[in-house]
Symmetry: C2
C-alpha cells in the first residue's frame, strides 16, 4: 500500500483561472496540528520573486504550518505591489484557515513581470481551503505543474526506536524555466519534531546532495525554493542522534528520487546521465569538472544524438579550470572503457559504447588518476525539443 500523505497534513489544488483551460493553478498544504518547525532553502539568484523575499523573512520564525502556491504567474519583478500581493495571499489563507498570517508561506511560479491577478486568487481561496483533505496531495502536485508532464510525489517511511515517521514530498520542474512559467519548487511534510536549526541543517545537506547536483540547462530561477514543515506527530525527535541519522537518510533518498524525477521529466529530455568524476586532488576539483561536463551543450547534444563522442567530454574536462594531466585520464561509459591514459581505446569499444548510449539512463565516469577526490552530477541530453519548447513565445 502506498502512503499518500504524511499524517497530520492535508492538501488541495484547484483551478482559479490563472492558467488557461481550467487547469489546476492554486494549491495549499496545511498541517492540522501546529507545526513544530519549518525550514527552507531558497534560490541564490539575486533577483528574487516577491514570495521568496517574504518567505525568507517569515521562515526565520520557524513555525509556519501552511503554504499557498500558485502557478501561471511568478510574482517576480513586480516591485512593491508584488510584495503586497504575496502578503495578501498569506493573509487571506490564514483568515480562512483560522491561523495567524505569519504562519503561512507563499510560493509562485510562472511568467515574470506581470501583476498578480489578485481578484481571482482572493475569490478562490475559500474554495481552496474547503478542498483540503489528506488525500489531496495529487491535486496539489498538479496545481504546481507548468512544463512538467507528470506530477512528482513521493512518500517514504523510516523507523527508529519502534517509532515510524513519514516524509511526503512533492516537486515541480527544475532548471527548465519556461517562458510562461518558471521555477523548481519542492514541498516536504513530515511528522518528526525538530528545532528549526536542526531541520534547516539537514535540509541544506540533503539539497546539496540532490537538487544542487542536477542540471537541465544551468539556469537558476528567481523563484526556486524547497520547504519542509514538521509537525512532530510521530514522536521521532531529531534532537536524538539516532533519530536524526535515520531521518537524514530518508530525506536524502526522498530528495534524490524527486531530483531524478525532475530530470527525467525535463523539457525535451530523452536521457538521464550521471557524471562521476574521481581521482582528483580534491572533491572541489571533481565537482567543478562534473559541473562543466554536465553543462556542456556539446556533450549534451552528443548524448541526444547517442554519440559516444568522448572527445567532447575530454574538451570539457580540460576547460573546467582544474589542474589535470591529460595523459592520465581514463573515461568510461557505464563499464565500457573508452579512454585509457588520455588516448582513445579504438573502434572496437566504440560499438560497445554505442550500446550504452542507447540506454535511457547511463553513467559517464572520468578518472583523473591524481588523487582521492570525488564528485558527481546528474544531467540530461539537450534535444531539438528543448529548443522548440523554449523558443516558443510565452504562450
Amino acid at each position: 500500500m502506498e502512503i499518500i500523505m504524511c499524517p497530520g497534513f492535508e492538501a488541495a489544488g484547484i483551478a482559479a483561472g490563472l492558467k488557461k483551460k481550467e487547469k489546476k493553478d492554486l494549491g495549499l498544504i496545511f498541517s492540522r496540528v501546529p507545526a513544530t518547525a519549518a525550514a527552507g532553502v531558497f534560490t541564490r539568484n539575486r533577483v528574487k520573486a516577491a514570495p521568496v523575499v517574504l518567505d525568507i523573512k517569515r521562515i526565520k520564525e520557524g513555525i509556519c504550518r501552511a503554504v499557498i502556491v500558485n502557478s501561471g504567474n511568478a510574482n517576480c519583478c513586480t516591485g512593491e505591489q508584488g510584495i503586497r500581493d504575496a502578503e495578501a495571499m498569506a493573509a487571506l489563507s490564514a483568515a480562512e484557515l483560522g491561523i495567524s498570517e505569519d504562519q503561512v508561506l507563499v510560493a509562485s511560479t510562472g511568467v515574470i513581470g506581470e501583476p498578480m491577478p489578485m481578484e481571482k486568487i482572493e475569490s478562490a481561496i475559500p474554495r481552496l481551503v474547503e478542498s483540503l483533505r489528506p488525500e489531496g496531495i495529487p491535486d496539489l502536485a498538479r496545481s504546481i505543474m507548468t512544463t512538467d508532464t507528470v506530477p512528482k510525489i513521493i512518500t517514504k517511511q523510516g523507523e527508529v526506536d519502534r517509532k515510524t515517521f513519514t516524509v511526503t514530498g512533492v516537486a515541480k520542474g527544475a532548471g527548465m524555466i519556461r517562458p510562461n512559467m518558471a521555477t523548481m519548487l519542492c514541498f516536504l511534510c513530515t511528522d518528526v519534531s525538530a528545532p528549526p536549526g536542526i531541520l534547516k541543517e539537514i535540509l541544506n545537506k540533503a539539497v546539496n546532495r540532490s537538487f544542487n547536483r542536477i542540471t537541465i540547462d544551468g539556469d537558476t530561477s528567481t523563484n526556486d525554493m524547497v520547504l519542509v514543515m514538521a509537525n512532530g506527530l510521530s514522536g521521532v525527535d531529531l534532537q536524538q542522534p539516532a533519530h536524526k541519522d535515520v531521518f537524514k537518510k530518508t530525506l536524502d533518498s526522498i530528495l534524490l528520487d524527486l531530483s531524478k524525477q525532475l530530470v527525467r521529466d525535463g523539457e525535451g529530455v530523452t536521457k538521464l546521465v550521471e557524471i562521476n568524476v574521481r581521482g582528483t586532488f580534491s572533491n572541489t576539483d571533481a565537482e567543478r569538472i562534473a559541473d562543466t561536463v554536465a553543462h556542456s551543450p556539446l556533450v549534451k547534444t552528443a548524448f541526444f544524438g547517442e554519440d559516444a563522442n568522448w572527445g567532447r567530454i575530454m574538451g570539457a574536462v580540460g576547460r573546467a579550470g582544474v589542474d589535470v594531466d591529460p595523459a592520465r585520464i581514463d573515461l568510461y561509459f557505464d563499464d565500457v572503457q573508452m579512454v585509457k591514459s588520455g588516448v582513445g581505446c579504438g573502434k572496437a569499444v566504440e560499438a560497445e559504447a554505442a550500446k550504452v548510449l542507447k540506454k535511457p539512463e547511463f553513467a559517464v565516469t572520468i578518472d583523473l588518476n591524481l588523487g582521492q577526490g570525488f564528485g558527481s552530477m546528474i544531467t540530461c541530453d539537450f534535444s531539438v525539443d528543448y529548443v522548440r519548447i523554449n523558443a516558443d513565445y510565452r504562450s
Copy 2:
C-alpha cells in the same frame, strides 16, 4: 579594389583526402622573406592537441615563417604518436620549403582521438608547397573550414609616417566544435616589424577585445589558436609608439570583424546579439553579468523564438554571482526600454521590442545603476538547427 594578401606572404589550400568528397583539407601560409616575429594565443583548455603543444614551445623563439594546417583530424588525445605526427608535418613542410623545421608551426582541426593519416599528408605536401601563391588565401580559408558555411578572410591597411602596412586575417569556426571537427583557428599575416614581445602583447589585447568576447555555445576547443606572423616589409616598426598605436587599432578592427563573421556563421545561428552591461561597481562585475546572460540557454532560445522575454535576462543577471540591486535595474532592447527600476514597462513597449527581436542583429543593454563599470559580449541565438548539427554522429 580589395587587397587579398599582405605583401611577402603566400598561401595554398588543397584536397589531401582527409575530408570526404575531395574537399580542401590541407593548407599552408608562408612568408617568402624571413619573418621578423611571430606570436600566438592558444586555448586555455588543459587538454591540448599535439600541434598546440608543439607551437607553444616553438613560438617562444618567435621566428616562425610558415604554418601548415589540416582539417578533418584534430590530432588531439593521440598521445606520443600525435606529437611525432605534428613534428613530422612541420619537418616535411620545412624540407619542401627549404627552411629550418623550427620555423614551421602546425594547426589541426577535426575529430578528436583518431590517429593522423600521415601517409596522405606526406604525399600531399609537395603539391601543397607548389600551389603557394599570393592569391592563394581563399584556398587556405576553404581548407580550414569545417561546419563553416562561408570562408572568413579580411585584409585592412593602415598608414603611419607615410608608410602603408597591411594585415590579412583568415579564420574558421568559433565555439561550435562539431563532432567530426573542432576549433577556432585564426591566422594573421602582416608586413610590420616588431620584436616578438610587443607583437604578443598587442595580439593578447586584441584577442581579449574580440575572440574572447564572443560565444556560441561556451565550449572551448582543445585546438584553438590565433597566430600572427610579421615580415617587416612595410617599414612600419612597432617599437615606435605612433606605429604601434595605428597597428593596434587595425588589428583590433580586423579581429572584431572576424569575430562577428564567426558568430554570424555559427552553427544554426539566426541572430547576432550584443550584450552590453553598464552601471556596475566594476568592469569585472559587468563582464561576469554579460558572460552569464550571453551563455544562458534560456536567453538564447528566447532570441531564437524572437521573444522579448526580459524575465529570463533578469534571471541570468541575478545568478551571475555579482551584487546587484534588482530594484535599480533598467533593461533595453536596442533603444526600447523594457524594464525600469526592476519592473516591466508594460504591454505597450512589448510590441516595440518585438520589432527589435525580429532584426538579425540587435543589442541588449542592462544598466545596473550602481557605478561606472562596463562590459560586453557578442552572442547568438540557440536554434533547433544547432542541436540537429551537434547531435549528429561524427559523420
